[in-house]
Symmetry: C2
Amino acid sequence: MAEVGLYEAMSTLRAVRRLRPDPIPRAVLHRVLEAATWAPTGGNTQPWRVVVVEESSTMAALGDLYRTAWYAYASHHKKLVAQAPEAVQRSTEKMLGAGNHLADHFDHTPALLIFCFNPNNMAITDRDQPRVSVVGGASIYTAVENTLLACRAEGLGCVLTTLLCQHETEVRSLLSIPEDWGTAAAVPIGYPLLGGHGPITRRPIEKLGFQDRWGEPIQFPNE
Amino acid sequence: MAEVGLYEAMSTLRAVRRLRPDPIPRAVLHRVLEAATWAPTGGNTQPWRVVVVEESSTMAALGDLYRTAWYAYASHHKKLVAQAPEAVQRSTEKMLGAGNHLADHFDHTPALLIFCFNPNNMAITDRDQPRVSVVGGASIYTAVENTLLACRAEGLGCVLTTLLCQHETEVRSLLSIPEDWGTAAAVPIGYPLLGGHGPITRRPIEKLGFQDRWGEPIQFPNE
Protein backbone atom coordinates (compact mmCIF):
# COMPACT_ATOMS: atom_id res chain seq x y z
CA MET A 1 0.00 0.00 0.00
CA ALA A 2 1.39 3.40 -0.95
CA GLU A 3 1.76 5.66 2.07
CA VAL A 4 -0.60 8.63 2.36
CA GLY A 5 0.79 11.88 0.95
CA LEU A 6 1.83 14.64 3.33
CA TYR A 7 -0.51 17.33 1.99
CA GLU A 8 -3.37 14.85 1.72
CA ALA A 9 -2.92 13.86 5.38
CA MET A 10 -2.69 17.45 6.63
CA SER A 11 -5.68 18.70 4.63
CA THR A 12 -8.01 15.91 5.80
CA LEU A 13 -7.05 15.69 9.48
CA ARG A 14 -10.25 16.27 11.42
CA ALA A 15 -11.02 16.25 15.13
CA VAL A 16 -12.68 12.83 15.39
CA ARG A 17 -14.50 12.51 18.72
CA ARG A 18 -16.72 9.47 18.09
CA LEU A 19 -14.49 6.44 18.46
CA ARG A 20 -15.15 2.71 18.38
CA PRO A 21 -13.94 0.69 21.37
CA ASP A 22 -12.13 -1.83 19.10
CA PRO A 23 -8.50 -2.32 20.14
CA ILE A 24 -5.66 -0.81 18.14
CA PRO A 25 -3.19 -3.32 16.72
CA ARG A 26 0.19 -3.00 18.39
CA ALA A 27 2.03 -2.43 15.11
CA VAL A 28 -0.28 0.47 14.25
CA LEU A 29 0.20 2.05 17.66
CA HIS A 30 3.95 1.65 17.26
CA ARG A 31 3.96 3.56 13.95
CA VAL A 32 1.84 6.35 15.44
CA LEU A 33 4.15 6.77 18.44
CA GLU A 34 7.31 6.51 16.37
CA ALA A 35 6.03 9.46 14.34
CA ALA A 36 5.91 11.47 17.58
CA THR A 37 9.59 10.77 18.26
CA TRP A 38 10.58 12.24 14.88
CA ALA A 39 9.35 15.72 15.79
CA PRO A 40 11.80 18.58 16.25
CA THR A 41 12.36 19.83 19.82
CA GLY A 42 14.54 22.64 21.16
CA GLY A 43 18.18 21.49 21.16
CA ASN A 44 16.86 18.02 20.20
CA THR A 45 16.34 17.34 23.91
CA GLN A 46 12.96 15.63 23.36
CA PRO A 47 11.71 16.92 26.73
CA TRP A 48 8.36 15.11 26.41
CA ARG A 49 7.12 11.69 27.42
CA VAL A 50 3.90 9.91 26.62
CA VAL A 51 1.88 7.61 28.87
CA VAL A 52 -0.22 5.28 26.74
CA VAL A 53 -3.31 4.44 28.76
CA GLU A 54 -5.19 1.31 27.70
CA GLU A 55 -6.09 -0.22 31.08
CA SER A 56 -9.84 0.07 31.64
CA SER A 57 -9.86 1.07 35.32
CA THR A 58 -7.43 3.92 34.70
CA MET A 59 -9.41 5.01 31.65
CA ALA A 60 -12.59 5.07 33.73
CA ALA A 61 -10.96 7.26 36.39
CA LEU A 62 -9.64 9.64 33.72
CA GLY A 63 -13.09 9.59 32.11
CA ASP A 64 -14.66 10.88 35.33
CA LEU A 65 -12.25 13.80 35.36
CA TYR A 66 -12.73 14.46 31.65
CA ARG A 67 -16.53 14.46 31.85
CA THR A 68 -16.53 17.03 34.66
CA ALA A 69 -14.16 19.30 32.75
CA TRP A 70 -16.00 18.82 29.45
CA TYR A 71 -19.50 19.66 30.64
CA ALA A 72 -18.24 22.78 32.42
CA TYR A 73 -16.46 23.86 29.23
CA ALA A 74 -19.42 23.03 26.99
CA SER A 75 -21.88 25.01 29.08
CA HIS A 76 -19.53 28.03 29.12
CA HIS A 77 -18.85 27.74 25.39
CA LYS A 78 -22.56 27.57 24.55
CA LYS A 79 -23.18 30.81 26.43
CA LEU A 80 -20.27 32.44 24.55
CA VAL A 81 -21.79 31.76 21.13
CA ALA A 82 -25.44 32.47 22.13
CA GLN A 83 -25.33 35.78 20.24
CA ALA A 84 -23.21 34.52 17.32
CA PRO A 85 -24.51 34.12 13.73
CA GLU A 86 -26.69 31.06 13.16
CA ALA A 87 -23.99 29.29 11.11
CA VAL A 88 -21.52 29.55 14.02
CA GLN A 89 -24.16 28.30 16.45
CA ARG A 90 -24.93 25.34 14.21
CA SER A 91 -21.28 24.32 13.86
CA THR A 92 -20.82 24.80 17.61
CA GLU A 93 -23.82 22.55 18.33
CA LYS A 94 -22.31 19.90 16.07
CA MET A 95 -18.91 20.11 17.77
CA LEU A 96 -20.51 20.02 21.23
CA GLY A 97 -22.61 17.00 20.29
CA ALA A 98 -19.49 15.11 19.25
CA GLY A 99 -17.73 16.35 22.40
CA ASN A 100 -20.57 15.05 24.56
CA HIS A 101 -20.21 11.69 22.87
CA LEU A 102 -16.49 11.59 23.61
CA ALA A 103 -17.09 12.55 27.25
CA ASP A 104 -19.92 10.04 27.70
CA HIS A 105 -17.95 7.19 26.11
CA PHE A 106 -14.51 8.10 27.45
CA ASP A 107 -14.30 4.83 29.43
CA HIS A 108 -14.40 2.88 26.17
CA THR A 109 -11.60 4.78 24.45
CA PRO A 110 -9.18 2.08 23.25
CA ALA A 111 -6.07 4.20 23.86
CA LEU A 112 -5.42 7.58 25.43
CA LEU A 113 -2.07 9.32 24.94
CA ILE A 114 -1.10 11.60 27.81
CA PHE A 115 1.75 13.85 26.70
CA CYS A 116 3.97 15.07 29.54
CA PHE A 117 6.84 17.56 29.57
CA ASN A 118 9.58 18.71 31.88
CA PRO A 119 10.07 22.49 31.91
CA ASN A 120 13.52 22.02 33.49
CA ASN A 121 14.71 20.49 30.23
CA MET A 122 13.49 23.40 28.11
CA ALA A 123 14.85 26.81 27.18
CA ILE A 124 11.64 28.80 27.64
CA THR A 125 12.55 32.04 25.90
CA ASP A 126 9.25 33.81 26.59
CA ARG A 127 9.30 33.12 30.33
CA ASP A 128 9.86 36.78 31.20
CA GLN A 129 7.29 38.24 28.82
CA PRO A 130 4.33 40.06 30.44
CA ARG A 131 1.87 37.56 28.91
CA VAL A 132 1.16 33.86 29.23
CA SER A 133 4.09 31.67 28.13
CA VAL A 134 3.72 29.31 25.16
CA VAL A 135 7.28 28.51 24.06
CA GLY A 136 7.53 25.28 26.08
CA GLY A 137 4.84 24.03 23.71
CA ALA A 138 7.29 24.28 20.79
CA SER A 139 8.97 21.10 22.06
CA ILE A 140 5.72 19.21 22.71
CA TYR A 141 3.01 20.04 20.20
CA THR A 142 5.28 19.34 17.23
CA ALA A 143 5.29 15.74 18.50
CA VAL A 144 1.55 15.84 19.15
CA GLU A 145 0.86 17.10 15.61
CA ASN A 146 3.03 14.29 14.19
CA THR A 147 0.97 11.85 16.26
CA LEU A 148 -2.33 13.19 14.92
CA LEU A 149 -1.06 13.09 11.34
CA ALA A 150 0.10 9.50 11.81
CA CYS A 151 -3.36 8.60 13.18
CA ARG A 152 -4.84 10.14 10.05
CA ALA A 153 -2.51 8.02 7.92
CA GLU A 154 -3.50 4.88 9.83
CA GLY A 155 -7.24 5.59 9.64
CA LEU A 156 -7.44 6.18 13.39
CA GLY A 157 -9.71 8.89 14.74
CA CYS A 158 -8.08 11.28 17.21
CA VAL A 159 -8.46 14.70 18.77
CA LEU A 160 -6.07 17.00 20.63
CA THR A 161 -7.59 17.78 24.02
CA THR A 162 -6.16 19.86 26.85
CA LEU A 163 -9.07 19.87 29.33
CA LEU A 164 -7.43 17.29 31.62
CA CYS A 165 -4.66 19.82 32.35
CA GLN A 166 -7.19 21.46 34.67
CA HIS A 167 -7.02 18.29 36.76
CA GLU A 168 -3.27 17.80 36.53
CA THR A 169 -2.82 16.89 40.19
CA GLU A 170 -5.34 14.04 39.92
CA VAL A 171 -3.97 12.86 36.55
CA ARG A 172 -0.42 12.94 37.93
CA SER A 173 -1.49 10.82 40.88
CA LEU A 174 -3.45 8.31 38.72
CA LEU A 175 -0.51 7.81 36.35
CA SER A 176 2.34 8.16 38.89
CA ILE A 177 3.76 11.11 36.97
CA PRO A 178 6.66 12.72 38.91
CA GLU A 179 6.18 16.17 40.44
CA ASP A 180 8.54 17.91 38.02
CA TRP A 181 6.63 16.75 34.93
CA GLY A 182 3.54 18.56 33.67
CA THR A 183 0.80 17.33 31.35
CA ALA A 184 0.28 19.09 28.02
CA ALA A 185 -2.32 17.09 26.08
CA ALA A 186 -4.56 14.03 26.16
CA VAL A 187 -5.19 12.45 22.76
CA PRO A 188 -7.90 9.77 22.65
CA ILE A 189 -7.42 7.53 19.63
CA GLY A 190 -9.50 4.77 18.10
CA TYR A 191 -11.15 3.72 14.88
CA PRO A 192 -13.93 6.15 13.86
CA LEU A 193 -17.54 5.30 14.59
CA LEU A 194 -18.79 7.44 11.70
CA GLY A 195 -17.01 9.02 8.72
CA GLY A 196 -13.72 9.80 10.45
CA HIS A 197 -11.26 12.09 8.72
CA GLY A 198 -12.18 14.10 5.64
CA PRO A 199 -12.77 17.66 4.44
CA ILE A 200 -11.99 20.44 6.93
CA THR A 201 -13.10 24.06 7.34
CA ARG A 202 -10.31 26.57 7.86
CA ARG A 203 -9.71 30.25 7.15
CA PRO A 204 -7.40 30.71 4.17
CA ILE A 205 -3.87 32.04 4.52
CA GLU A 206 -4.97 35.42 3.11
CA LYS A 207 -6.92 35.88 6.37
CA LEU A 208 -4.10 34.67 8.64
CA GLY A 209 -0.95 35.94 6.96
CA PHE A 210 0.64 39.34 6.49
CA GLN A 211 3.41 40.52 4.19
CA ASP A 212 6.44 42.09 5.93
CA ARG A 213 4.37 43.80 8.63
CA TRP A 214 1.11 43.34 10.51
CA GLY A 215 -1.94 44.47 8.52
CA GLU A 216 -0.20 44.33 5.13
CA PRO A 217 -2.18 41.85 2.98
CA ILE A 218 -0.36 38.80 1.72
CA GLN A 219 -1.05 38.03 -1.90
CA PHE A 220 -0.49 35.11 -4.18
CA PRO A 221 -1.10 36.00 -7.82
CA ASN A 222 -2.74 33.31 -9.94
CA GLU A 223 -0.17 30.59 -10.15
CA MET B 1 5.41 14.40 -9.45
CA ALA B 2 4.03 12.17 -6.67
CA GLU B 3 3.74 14.04 -3.38
CA VAL B 4 6.12 13.08 -0.60
CA GLY B 5 4.74 10.50 1.80
CA LEU B 6 3.77 11.54 5.31
CA TYR B 7 6.13 9.21 7.17
CA GLU B 8 8.94 9.95 4.76
CA ALA B 9 8.54 13.69 5.36
CA MET B 10 8.37 13.38 9.16
CA SER B 11 11.33 11.01 9.42
CA THR B 12 13.65 13.19 7.32
CA LEU B 13 12.75 16.65 8.64
CA ARG B 14 15.98 18.16 9.92
CA ALA B 15 16.81 21.54 11.40
CA VAL B 16 18.45 23.14 8.35
CA ARG B 17 20.32 26.29 9.38
CA ARG B 18 22.49 26.94 6.34
CA LEU B 19 20.25 28.53 3.73
CA ARG B 20 20.87 29.98 0.29
CA PRO B 21 19.69 33.56 -0.33
CA ASP B 22 17.81 32.52 -3.52
CA PRO B 23 14.21 33.72 -3.50
CA ILE B 24 11.35 31.29 -2.88
CA PRO B 25 8.81 31.05 -5.71
CA ARG B 26 5.46 32.48 -4.67
CA ALA B 27 3.58 29.27 -5.47
CA VAL B 28 5.90 27.27 -3.22
CA LEU B 29 5.50 29.75 -0.36
CA HIS B 30 1.74 29.58 -0.84
CA ARG B 31 1.70 25.79 -0.44
CA VAL B 32 3.87 25.99 2.68
CA LEU B 33 1.61 28.57 4.33
CA GLU B 34 -1.59 26.82 3.29
CA ALA B 35 -0.31 23.74 5.14
CA ALA B 36 -0.12 25.89 8.28
CA THR B 37 -3.80 26.84 7.99
CA TRP B 38 -4.83 23.17 7.97
CA ALA B 39 -3.54 22.57 11.49
CA PRO B 40 -5.95 21.84 14.34
CA THR B 41 -6.45 24.60 16.92
CA GLY B 42 -8.59 24.70 20.08
CA GLY B 43 -12.23 25.21 19.08
CA ASN B 44 -10.96 25.73 15.50
CA THR B 45 -10.38 29.39 16.39
CA GLN B 46 -7.04 29.55 14.54
CA PRO B 47 -5.72 32.09 17.08
CA TRP B 48 -2.40 32.49 15.25
CA ARG B 49 -1.17 34.80 12.52
CA VAL B 50 2.03 34.76 10.51
CA VAL B 51 4.06 37.71 9.30
CA VAL B 52 6.12 36.70 6.27
CA VAL B 53 9.23 38.87 6.27
CA GLU B 54 11.06 39.14 2.96
CA GLU B 55 11.99 42.85 2.93
CA SER B 56 15.74 43.20 3.36
CA SER B 57 15.85 46.16 5.77
CA THR B 58 13.41 44.45 8.16
CA MET B 59 15.36 41.21 7.88
CA ALA B 60 18.59 43.06 8.75
CA ALA B 61 17.01 44.60 11.85
CA LEU B 62 15.66 41.21 12.95
CA GLY B 63 19.09 39.72 12.20
CA ASP B 64 20.73 42.12 14.66
CA LEU B 65 18.35 40.97 17.39
CA TYR B 66 18.77 37.32 16.47
CA ARG B 67 22.58 37.47 16.49
CA THR B 68 22.64 38.98 19.97
CA ALA B 69 20.25 36.33 21.31
CA TRP B 70 22.03 33.49 19.51
CA TYR B 71 25.57 34.20 20.71
CA ALA B 72 24.36 34.57 24.30
CA TYR B 73 22.53 31.23 24.00
CA ALA B 74 25.46 29.49 22.28
CA SER B 75 27.98 30.56 24.92
CA HIS B 76 25.65 29.38 27.71
CA HIS B 77 24.91 26.11 25.93
CA LYS B 78 28.60 25.39 25.37
CA LYS B 79 29.27 25.77 29.09
CA LEU B 80 26.36 23.41 29.87
CA VAL B 81 27.82 20.55 27.82
CA ALA B 82 31.47 21.13 28.81
CA GLN B 83 31.37 18.05 31.07
CA ALA B 84 29.20 15.90 28.77
CA PRO B 85 30.46 12.79 26.91
CA GLU B 86 32.58 13.50 23.85
CA ALA B 87 29.83 12.40 21.44
CA VAL B 88 27.41 14.96 22.91
CA GLN B 89 30.07 17.66 22.73
CA ARG B 90 30.79 16.82 19.09
CA SER B 91 27.12 16.97 18.06
CA THR B 92 26.72 20.20 20.05
CA GLU B 93 29.71 21.73 18.25
CA LYS B 94 28.15 20.79 14.93
CA MET B 95 24.78 22.30 15.86
CA LEU B 96 26.44 25.46 17.18
CA GLY B 97 28.49 25.81 13.99
CA ALA B 98 25.34 25.67 11.89
CA GLY B 99 23.62 28.05 14.33
CA ASN B 100 26.51 30.52 14.00
CA HIS B 101 26.09 30.36 10.23
CA LEU B 102 22.38 31.12 10.51
CA ALA B 103 23.04 34.04 12.87
CA ASP B 104 25.86 35.44 10.71
CA HIS B 105 23.84 35.17 7.48
CA PHE B 106 20.43 36.07 8.91
CA ASP B 107 20.22 39.21 6.75
CA HIS B 108 20.25 37.04 3.64
CA THR B 109 17.44 34.71 4.70
CA PRO B 110 14.98 34.75 1.79
CA ALA B 111 11.89 34.47 4.04
CA LEU B 112 11.30 34.53 7.77
CA LEU B 113 7.97 33.41 9.19
CA ILE B 114 7.07 35.11 12.47
CA PHE B 115 4.22 33.21 14.11
CA CYS B 116 2.05 35.33 16.41
CA PHE B 117 -0.81 34.38 18.74
CA ASN B 118 -3.50 36.04 20.77
CA PRO B 119 -3.95 34.52 24.25
CA ASN B 120 -7.37 36.21 24.51
CA ASN B 121 -8.64 33.85 21.80
CA MET B 122 -7.41 30.73 23.58
CA ALA B 123 -8.75 28.51 26.35
CA ILE B 124 -5.51 28.09 28.30
CA THR B 125 -6.43 25.20 30.55
CA ASP B 126 -3.10 25.08 32.41
CA ARG B 127 -3.09 28.78 33.29
CA ASP B 128 -3.60 28.08 37.00
CA GLN B 129 -1.06 25.28 37.32
CA PRO B 130 1.95 25.96 39.58
CA ARG B 131 4.35 25.56 36.65
CA VAL B 132 5.04 27.37 33.40
CA SER B 133 2.07 27.28 31.00
CA VAL B 134 2.38 25.54 27.63
CA VAL B 135 -1.21 24.89 26.49
CA GLY B 136 -1.47 28.05 24.38
CA GLY B 137 1.17 26.37 22.23
CA ALA B 138 -1.33 23.63 21.30
CA SER B 139 -3.01 26.10 18.94
CA ILE B 140 0.22 27.44 17.43
CA TYR B 141 2.91 24.77 17.13
CA THR B 142 0.59 22.36 15.32
CA ALA B 143 0.56 24.99 12.55
CA VAL B 144 4.31 25.50 12.85
CA GLU B 145 4.96 21.75 12.54
CA ASN B 146 2.74 21.61 9.44
CA THR B 147 4.81 24.48 8.02
CA LEU B 148 8.09 22.68 8.66
CA LEU B 149 6.78 19.47 7.11
CA ALA B 150 5.59 21.37 4.04
CA CYS B 151 9.05 22.96 3.73
CA ARG B 152 10.50 19.45 3.83
CA ALA B 153 8.12 18.40 1.05
CA GLU B 154 9.11 21.42 -1.05
CA GLY B 155 12.85 20.91 -0.54
CA LEU B 156 13.12 24.09 1.54
CA GLY B 157 15.42 24.19 4.53
CA CYS B 158 13.86 25.49 7.75
CA VAL B 159 14.30 25.53 11.50
CA LEU B 160 11.97 26.30 14.40
CA THR B 161 13.56 29.06 16.46
CA THR B 162 12.18 30.84 19.53
CA LEU B 163 15.12 33.06 20.51
CA LEU B 164 13.49 36.21 19.11
CA CYS B 165 10.76 35.88 21.77
CA GLN B 166 13.36 37.30 24.17
CA HIS B 167 13.19 40.51 22.12
CA GLU B 168 9.43 40.54 21.65
CA THR B 169 9.02 44.25 22.30
CA GLU B 170 11.51 45.14 19.57
CA VAL B 171 10.08 42.55 17.14
CA ARG B 172 6.56 43.82 17.80
CA SER B 173 7.65 47.36 17.05
CA LEU B 174 9.56 46.40 13.87
CA LEU B 175 6.58 44.46 12.48
CA SER B 176 3.76 46.68 13.87
CA ILE B 177 2.34 43.73 15.82
CA PRO B 178 -0.50 44.88 18.12
CA GLU B 179 0.02 44.87 21.90
CA ASP B 180 -2.37 41.96 22.53
CA TRP B 181 -0.51 39.58 20.18
CA GLY B 182 2.58 37.68 21.27
CA THR B 183 5.27 36.03 19.17
CA ALA B 184 5.76 32.27 19.38
CA ALA B 185 8.30 31.30 16.74
CA ALA B 186 10.52 32.57 13.96
CA VAL B 187 11.08 30.11 11.13
CA PRO B 188 13.75 31.08 8.59
CA ILE B 189 13.21 29.23 5.32
CA GLY B 190 15.25 28.94 2.15
CA TYR B 191 16.82 26.41 -0.17
CA PRO B 192 19.59 24.47 1.61
CA LEU B 193 23.21 25.47 1.08
CA LEU B 194 24.43 21.92 1.83
CA GLY B 195 22.60 18.60 2.09
CA GLY B 196 19.36 19.89 3.56
CA HIS B 197 16.90 17.40 4.98
CA GLY B 198 17.80 13.74 5.54
CA PRO B 199 18.39 11.20 8.29
CA ILE B 200 17.69 12.35 11.86
CA THR B 201 18.84 11.24 15.30
CA ARG B 202 16.10 10.70 17.87
CA ARG B 203 15.55 8.58 20.95
CA PRO B 204 13.19 5.68 20.20
CA ILE B 205 9.67 5.50 21.60
CA GLU B 206 10.80 2.81 24.08
CA LYS B 207 12.79 5.60 25.82
CA LEU B 208 10.00 8.18 25.68
CA GLY B 209 6.84 6.15 26.21
CA PHE B 210 5.28 4.35 29.15
CA GLN B 211 2.48 1.79 29.32
CA ASP B 212 -0.50 2.78 31.52
CA ARG B 213 1.62 4.53 34.13
CA TRP B 214 4.91 6.41 34.45
CA GLY B 215 7.93 4.09 34.62
CA GLU B 216 6.14 1.08 33.13
CA PRO B 217 8.07 0.10 29.96
CA ILE B 218 6.18 0.21 26.69
CA GLN B 219 6.81 -2.79 24.50
CA PHE B 220 6.20 -3.67 20.90
CA PRO B 221 6.78 -7.36 20.22
CA ASN B 222 8.33 -8.23 16.88
CA GLU B 223 5.75 -7.29 14.31
